[in-house]
Symmetry: C2
């Protein structure tokens, strides 16, 4: 059996390679492949409907097959890759039904948070899709389209390949949608069709004239007489406008703030950067500065509950200009088609004249202050500012939903660092898979250390992916905030309820158990006191991150960062289990 | 904050308790609750949209909140519970979006394999569902119905509660569909609505007259002159027809066989039980017996690829009578509305007269023979028959997709044992979650030990759920077949490909790491040789299963059970990566 399988495989590979040539677009336009989009890692699991395609991936010179522990984790990893590696996409490959459906939540999160992810599902052959036999991984009632219907809910475009002749064009369209909309797309790859090169011509989008909009914005800026603030949010990052934004803030001198999902959109050490605005959750002085400004230039805003202090922005529309990925809103007027990335350089030219007026308004610096506390307990209020000193430029910081993504808000991050959070979708466990993808992308981009903050409860959802990090020789520093369960839920409801408890794990043996069999490739620590944690952070070998490290940080069960306490109070009111 | 939360919670609880009274159906009909359906365990995770309902669950006197590590595992656990606890259902509670979508694959599997599961999703309040704010766990585009569209693909009925006045009736209808169709149903529970008692009146289904069908079947049996075989399959188990089936086989004496999904539908020690029929994958003598019979009485058949030897049944329709859950097919004629469970007792009365004719046909006994092998390697061909001697009556045996569910096919199982497999849906990792649910249901039913067979690759998808087993003080024996990766995939395609490799884990420290912190509540073993494994199986303390135990069974990477080798050969041909 085994030798005949091998022979058959080889024959298929040869045939497929020939077919790839035939699939090339023949109009002489520029050819791109996934590899040319900067895809160096592909996530997913093998399954009997994707094995043939996997041969091509494994044989590819520059795309590495990561091979995750489960599909949800793989989707999170593709998301992390897509977030860190700008102008590229995350790619996940799953198998028909069982595999693709397990990835659903991860893909939906990428949709919600606008991360470009290509989901490829290996599916039965085109003939089987017509005849609909009762194959394994089917529902037994002939509905071969059920999984497509699911995918359509969480993707901006789909291609169900059935014809090699049109496959290249379909994939071209698909990737264009993925890149331009920064959201997931879905591709079914029958066992009898494969693909390769596609045209990149369509990735360039034409633009419209925007002089009218620029005039109107300038008018408002002029009238504000320097009292203008810039507010950065998610889509600055998602639509790759970091560079253009940096120019705007540098040349205008307008005070600049960020929403939670816009954190690290610009360097937080910038002298005119004032901190994080989250509506009523903001520090009062930040809230006052922004809400009293005569004009707010809002870049890439995404006003979800957790990103806006539970909808507590107090900024009148009459004083707002909103720049979005593909439209601009000036006070009450929408201007479709005028996108941020192209508008920003022109806006910067117009507005640099107002710099001297802007500089009359001072910006209190955004600083972390470690509080003096009498005990040795690792409190949330002590932990986060202490971490601020630990971070280095170019670090990639991944913060899990829960205490971590609230705690990190009050911490200024160093230059060229990147913060990953999932404030909108908020799926616990996301950070672990995402950290894997982020770490791989960080290597590509020559970034610094990867530092993950995850609660004990969240880590239990997706813990097995640490195993893949070990196998791929990645070296994140993983802080496990052990506060005995789902602390964020305790703040929302059921503070002492058993359903918010979890089983305690032996965290310091997790890395060894999950793959570092001889204990040489990882290191794990438990810190129970401020002193123990401080000493560890000061240890230069620890800080050098030369192997994968896990730090169990024992914290009080009922403690939470300031911002979470306020948010939970607001959120608990909204979700109150009353009518 | 904490004390005000507590006060608020208590006020809500009191209010909800009052509301529950109001929701009672007032027509005086019989009242049932989930608890009266035999639901003793509820699976899932807390989330901010289900916490209020969880208070009720936690306070319930007979329903235990299990609290899983992730939602996919929870869905598998509800599936396992629903499979073992007949006439009951599995229940999973998740939260809006992130939670429910993570469960998708598990619910789809329960749909495919016909397991009654109630999926309750805690969702935003009825007001929020109308105004559609940009809450966390939403897609950002106002599509609050996207998750419902997903659920509709994998459930036979849905109830989106919005009105307390109709909630009881809606839930009644929902549970009726769940029980009668043995498939998942989906319920959204807004934070401002809860429910309790429902009427059970509609659970009784009316029947039609079936004399005509019985005459026709008897005619065929008579013409067959004793050369009749019975073939049992999935729906005998799913539609709770075990007892009626037992009467038929006992009183008619017809030789009886089972498809993979019908294994343990009757006691395999029954003197007229001949083994497992899987089309071309069957042992040749079994195949010949069945395919040469003059009449095949097929009970509850489900002819999926892996359950039918890749569609290689060689049984002409002219010689077949098919009894299904809600219809009967005699040769070429369908008879809707005539269901197996009610037809069987009448059929038994008609056919017992043919017993003496039937006994002229002998049935070679279904036995496991441990092969004599010269080496000490634990081969698949040695392992499975060896396990046959280890099983005891009333054991619950869970076999993962892959080598395990093929290996177990050739093993006769003891009386009153139950085999759980997922031959049709085939989602790897399923067995771990399902084992948790099965173990809880087994306690309720006073069954014996729970024995899980799972490959190293599959266990990595869902391993964290071992943690929940420890917390719930369950004591399964877990055989981890460590054969260095996805062996079933190697047999299908890519035998030596890296994508079929996995990271090796320190299996024997897994239970301690995942919750048995002091090592007193679990025991783990590695067996490298036939001798080591034999000694362990003979150890009475091990066999008594008085704590949770994990046995790493080291097996050759490229070895597989007989049935898998044949199946993979057939399946590989079908899925060939060619046109």
């Amino acid at each position: 059996m085994s030798s005949s399988t091998d022979t058959a495989s080889q024959a298929e590979i040869n045939r497929l390679k020939l077919e790839l040539q035939a699939l090339k677009v023949e109009d002489g336009s520029e050819q791109i492949m996934l590899a040319q989009l900067g895809v160096t890692s592909m996530f997913g699991l093998p399954g009997d409907f994707n094995l043939g395609f996997l041969d091509l991936v494994e044989d590819h010179p520059t795309i590495d097959w990561v091979g995750n522990c489960n599909e949800l984790n793989a989707a999170y990893a593709a998301d992390g890759f897509g977030r860190v590696k700008e102008q590229s996409i995350g790619v996940i490959l799953t198998t028909f039904g069982v595999g693709e459906l397990s990835a659903t939540n991860g893909i939906a999160g990428a949709f919600s948070e606008m991360v470009p992810v290509l989901h490829i599902a290996g599916v039965p052959s085109t003939m089987q899709q017509k005849t609909k036999p009762m194959l394994h991984h089917t529902l037994g009632d002939g509905r071969y389209d059920a999984y497509m219907k699911v995918a359509e809910q969480f993707s901006v475009a789909q291609a169900y390949l059935t014809n090699p002749a049109t496959a290249a064009v379909e994939i071209d369209n698909l990737l264009t949608e993925c890149m331009t909309k920064a959201r997931p797309v879905y591709l079914t790859l029958p066992t009898d069709i494969v693909y390769d090169k596609i045209s990149s011509a369509r990735l360039k989008i034409p633009l419209s004239v925007e002089a009218f909009v620029l005039d109107k914005i300038e008018e408002l800026v002029k009238a504000a007489d320097g009292n203008v603030v810039i507010l950065l949010d998610a889509c600055v990052v998602r639509h790759h406008a970091r560079k253009e934004t940096k120019e705007l803030v540098r040349k205008t001198g307008f005070p600049v703030y960020a929403a939670p999902m816009g954190k690290t959109a610009i360097n937080e050490s910038w002298e005119r950067f004032g901190g994080i605005y989250v509506g009523s959750i903001s520090h009062p002085e930040i809230k006052e500065k922004i809400e009293s400004a005569k004009l707010i230039l809002s870049l890439g805003s995404l006003k979800s509950d957790y990103n806006s202090g539970n909808f507590t922005y107090r900024i009148p529309t009459a004083r707002t200009v909103e720049l979005h990925s593909s439209w601009t809103k000036v006070q009450y007027s929408d201007h479709p088609g005028i996108g941020m990335k192209d508008l920003l350089p022109k806006l910067t030219s117009r507005l640099e004249a107002y710099k001297s007026a802007a500089l009359r308004y001072d910006v209190p610096p955004f600083r972390a202050v470690v509080p003096q506390e009498d005990d040795n307990i690792i409190s949330q209020s002590w932990f986060w500012p202490t971490m601020a000193k630990f971070f280095r430029p170019k670090d990639v910081i991944v913060a899990e939903t829960g205490t971590s993504n609230f705690g990190i808000l009050d911490v200024p991050l160093p230059n060229d660092s990147i913060l990953l959070n999932q404030v909108f979708w908020g799926s616990i466990g996301w950070s672990v898979g995402s950290c894997l993808g982020a770490a791989l992308a960080a290597k590509d981009k020559d970034l610094g250390r990867v530092v993950l903050f995850v609660g004990d409860g969240s880590l239990q959802l997706t813990a097995q992916e640490l195993s893949t990090m070990i196998r791929k020789d990645l070296k994140p520093i993983i802080f496990v905030l052990n506060n005995s369960g789902y602390t964020i839920e305790r703040y929302i409801h059921g503070e002492t309820r058993k359903y918010n408890d979890i089983t305690n794990w032996k965290w310091t043996s997790l890395l060894e158990t999950l793959g570092d069999l001889d204990g040489t490739r990882s290191k794990s620590y438990t810190t129970n006191t401020k002193e123990e944690l401080s000493n560890l952070l000061d240890d230069s070998e620890f800080a050098s991150a030369n192997k994968i490290q896990l730090v169990e940080v024992v914290m009080p069960m009922h403690d939470a960062p300031r911002a979470l306490k306020v948010q939970a109070e607001l959120s608990g009111k909204t979700n109150a289990y009353t009518k």
